[in-house]
């Protein structure tokens, strides 16, 4: 309880009511103001001084200009019946608008409806002469210097949801929700057959339906439900081709497949039982069947193997079974144990899809996969003293990894296996954590964990060099993780939090399998501070530095003039992020604040290339060669200033000024010289461009009205 307010409202109200009678007791409604739901409506206008192609990708304000600012939170409650009506509408003047309306008789029945629009505006500008981008028929001009036009990639998701809730009594309730989301637009893609630009047409719907019955009693809780989802794509195949200067389609159509309609149905039961007031058991079982059996589209004139499927009959069955027990064995010792079985088993028939010629060196079959994982965990917590506890845990997982082998060569190796496989993977993890209150104002925790992953010999691939790698997700790995946290309140008004985290991975390798990721590490340091300068002013500040490093070895084969070589890349990602905020009361009617966010990221791509044969460092094709990758630096500064002035008791006007600055030297879409990357040599010369520097200012003014 704070001592800063000498006069308590209770005393005030009681005094007014008791001593001065009904005349001043009318001040009592102020209690209602403090304890009854409040609504807020905000209406205004904002203006961005410049385009924001990088920082405005999701907020519906990517372009220079004026925007309407309209938000409303309407909350009404009928106290007599406990009936709520809530309307939460945000960004109504923007392309990112959303709202949710709910009618709820609390503890009995409720319905809701929701709309959410998520725009995504690609930060890149595409200069292209390719026609039909984002549709199912795209044409790439062959002239080397046609007139290029601007095309903007991006998508919009329009999601509608509806929900219903009913309390069935006795601790049992029923909920059902339905969501439909339409996604439309186009994204950067490629023609696949050559290094040529295309844009994937996106025009699809996803639907999700979930119906759940839940029961919660004092000792037993259970939840059972159905979750169904489906995906519908209005495009299934994209026809791309070159056209000549006259616009005539040339005889090289190239068809690109798209995701086909799919659906999944899941039944699940999730429950728990309190054996005693100290011991609780939990369980969960779920079964899901996902299918995809659409007509497989084929382009006009495209050669198809006679035995290739016309329907995939695709099916993925997923089974989950999970058991857990947790117990407080004594007042100082608690433990938990769990066992989890998760089996993702694709039942799609193995079928020959590609068989170009006699012999099957390049045949391709479908590859139904399967991952069956059994995980066990045991963890104990022992409280040494009131402020000191120790946690220790052990986790073991065993994974069976299924992949069919049907397309075998004379030596029994799968012709279409490009990456080594492991049929089993094991991982053992242990961890310890200590937590201690060092004093009334200082708490700390420290944690260390180690895990070791390995498995049997790798399955061979179709060539010797591919057999020399340890794929990252199934390689032997030793992982160490360390974490330290300190929470210190040296003053009543000041809190400081320190974090230090370090993780290191060592990946297995051998003389015959030396390549892949060798090691990686991640480090994080952060400090947070919160300070109450006075009753009216508070400030916060934080800084964090994170870095991730990876050493990756590989062999480069002789290729287009480049010599055989051993490569060692030492990749690095360093981030510095700083945030600060100050808010307070400037004058009785005037409040304000400032928020600052600064982020800087540096990515480094040094790669040592040790030549082991004759040839160049980089390939050279038609006079074009390569150059090492420069570092990339991204910097972002966002400053927000705001002030609100109370016009009356229930209304205020708010002013916002934001400044954004974005800088990058990202070479993703650049040639080595720094000029924009240009596709191909004989086609239209599509370019993808990113502005290296963006700066914009926002001015906003809003009228805000509060009511009950």
């Amino acid at each position: 309880m704070s001592s800063k307010h000498i006069l308590k409202l209770t005393a005030l109200s009681a005094a007014l009511a008791g001593a001065w009678g009904p005349a001043l007791a009318q001040e009592e409604p102020s209690v209602a103001e403090l304890s009854k739901p409040e609504s807020v409506v905000s209406l205004g206008i904002g203006y961005w001084s410049d385009d924001r192609p990088r920082l405005g990708i999701y907020d519906g304000m990517p372009d220079k200009g004026a925007y309407g600012l309209l938000d409303a939170l309407i909350i009404k409650r009928d106290d007599a019946t406990g009936t709520w009506f809530t309307l939460d509408a945000r960004y109504l003047g923007l392309d990112s608008r959303e709202f949710r309306a709910e009618w709820l008789r609390q503890g009995d029945i409720g319905v809701s409806i929701e709309y959410n629009r998520i725009p995504y505006a690609s930060p890149f500008t595409v200069m292209t002469a390719t026609q039909g981008l984002g549709t199912s028929m795209q044409r790439v001009p062959t002239p080397s210097a046609p007139v290029l036009g601007e095309w903007q990639a991006g998508t919009v998701r329009d999601g509608w949801s509806a929900g219903f809730f009913k309390n069935l009594g006795g601790g049992t309730d029923f909920r059902v929700s339905l969501k439909n989301e339409h996604k439309e637009g186009g994204r950067l893609w490629g023609r696949g057959g050559a290094a040529e630009f295309a844009a994937e047409p996106i025009d699809s719907d996803t639907r999700q339906l979930e119906a759940v019955v839940s029961h919660a009693g004092k000792t037993f809780q259970i939840q059972g439900g159905y979750y169904g989802s489906s995906y519908t794509n209005r495009n299934s195949l994209v026809d791309t081709a070159n056209i000549n200067a006259a616009g005539t389609t040339l005889t090289n159509p190239f068809y690109l497949s798209l995701p086909l309609d799919n659906q999944a149905h899941q039944l699940y039961v999730n429950g728990a039982y309190n054996f005693t007031d100290r011991t609780r058991g939990t369980f969960k079982v779920a079964y899901t069947r996902a299918t995809q059996d659409e007509d497989i589209p084929v382009g006009n004139g495209v050669p198809v193997f006679s035995g290739a499927p016309t329907h995939l009959d695709g099916r993925l069955d997923t089974t989950l079974a999970q058991l857990g027990v947790n117990s407080r064995a004594t007042s100082n010792l608690s433990w938990l144990a769990s066992l989890r079985y998760y089996n993702s088993d694709e039942k799609t028939p193995q079928q020959r899809v590609v068989q170009p010629a006699a012999g099957c060196g390049t045949c391709v079959d479908t590859t139904p996969l399967g991952f069956k994982t059994l995980t066990g965990r045991l963890e104990g917590t022992y409280r040494l003293t009131a402020g000191t506890s120790l946690i220790g845990g052990l986790e073991y997982s065993d994974q069976d990894r299924k992949v069919p082998f049907g397309n075998l060569n004379a030596t029994g190796v799968d012709n279409q296996r490009y990456v080594p496989w492991r049929v089993e993977l094991e991982e053992l993890t242990y961890y310890v954590q200590g937590r201690r209150s060092l004093s009334e104002t200082l708490n700390g925790s420290i944690r260390y964990g180690h895990s070791k992953r390995d498995g049997p010999d790798f399955t061979l691939t179709n060539e010797a060099q591919s057999d020399m790698i340890n794929p990252i997700h199934i390689a032997d790995r030793d992982r160490d993780k360390f974490r330290l946290m300190l929470d210190w309140s040296p003053l009543q008004a000041l809190t400081l939090t320190f974090n230090a985290e370090y993780a290191k991975d060592e990946y297995g390798h051998s003389d015959t399998r030396p390549y892949g990721l060798r090691d990686g590490s991640a480090t994080l340091y952060s400090i947070d501070a919160a300070y109450s300068i006075s009753d009216n002013w508070q400030m916060t500040a934080w800084y964090s530095r994170d870095s991730a490093k990876a050493t990756q070895l590989g062999q480069r084969a002789v290729n287009n003039g480049a010599a055989e070589a051993v490569k060692e890349a030492n990749l690095e990602d360093i981030g510095d992020t700083f945030g600060a905020g100050l808010k307070g009361t400037i004058a009785p009617r005037l409040k304000g604040g400032i928020d600052l966010l600064y982020s800087k990221n540096v990515n480094k791509y040094p790669e040592a290339i040790t030549l082991t044969g004759a040839g160049g460092v980089f390939p050279t094709v038609a006079g074009v060669t390569g150059a090492p990758l420069p570092d990339i630096e991204n910097k972002m500064t966002r400053l927000k200033l705001y002030a609100s002035y109370a016009l009356q008791k229930h209304s205020e006007v708010r002013f916002d000024y934001w400044h954004e600055l974005w800088q990058t030297n990202d070479w993703t879409w650049m040639f080595a010289s720094g000029t924009p990357f240009t596709y191909g040599t004989t086609t239209d010369g599509t370019q993808v461009i990113q502005q290296p520097k963006q700066s914009a200012n926002f001015f906003g003014v809003r009228y805000i009205y509060r009511m009950q």
């Binding site: 739901p37 919660a216 947790n326 391709v364 990749l571 981030g575």
Partner: protein, 308 residues
Amino acid sequence: MKLAHLALLAALFSAGAAAQDKPARKDMVLNGDAKCTRCHNEGDDYPVLAIGKTKHGTMADARTPTCTSCHGESDSHINKPASATERPRPDRSFGKHSKTPLEERSAACLTCHQGGNRIQWQMSAHSNRDVACSSCHQIHAAHDKVRDKLTQPDTCFTCHKEQRAQINRPWHHPVPEGKMSCSSCHNVHGGNPKQLVRDSVTETCFTCHMEKRGPFVHNHPPVQEDCAICHQPHGTTIPSLLKARPPFLCQECHSHTSHPSQAGALPGGRTISNSLLGSVGRGCLTCHTNIHGSNSTQNSATAGRFRR
């Protein structure tokens, strides 16, 4: 006379009168709250009356708790023993400096909220890492920050500093923009691995990215196994939330001869050579464009390499 002075005078007068008559105090928001609200109200650092604005303040709902439902009867707190130098704390308190064990704090909430998505709470990482309900939720506040997707990340970032840094990277899910929140993907009360809303990483991602679910004619194994093998969902400096850039990302698994083994390099000019295009633009994905899976049955080996 200003209202405050008037009130002070009234309060003093009233206090004297009350000593004689001891009129019963009236509840202000919740049933039986008078014994608490005689001292506690919005003047506290943590205003208590605002609980009336929340679901916990809906008196028409018979399940609505009283102050003591959560804080305990707290007799010694209400009637400070003469021998005590400081007023004892309530039986259960929830603030940062509370001495109430974390399990007991959560137990107060779970008395009513153990069902639904919280059935597995006791098995969750949060529950077993010193996080209580009140570590994140503001029970008395009209606006519980963590239940609003715009402000929720601030609460999560109190502990998850790495994710706070990542979410401010150039490529991120629309969390800073308030269009998604941490709980869009994570059931922070649940017992799933990584406390995801669905039973696995892929099942969670497919709720929004269902086109990646397949099954495809040509599967790319990591897509079915775990999206996080290639993607960092909290934010990266690389388009499409990739963990590393091509060709390095692809070369974490692929060591094939010919162009797949190329070194990272920027081409000096226009080219159609796949030996020079592994890093620039979409890198390997320039040609292997359907990398999440392909449905082409064209009788070409390239169909199986996600190029059609």
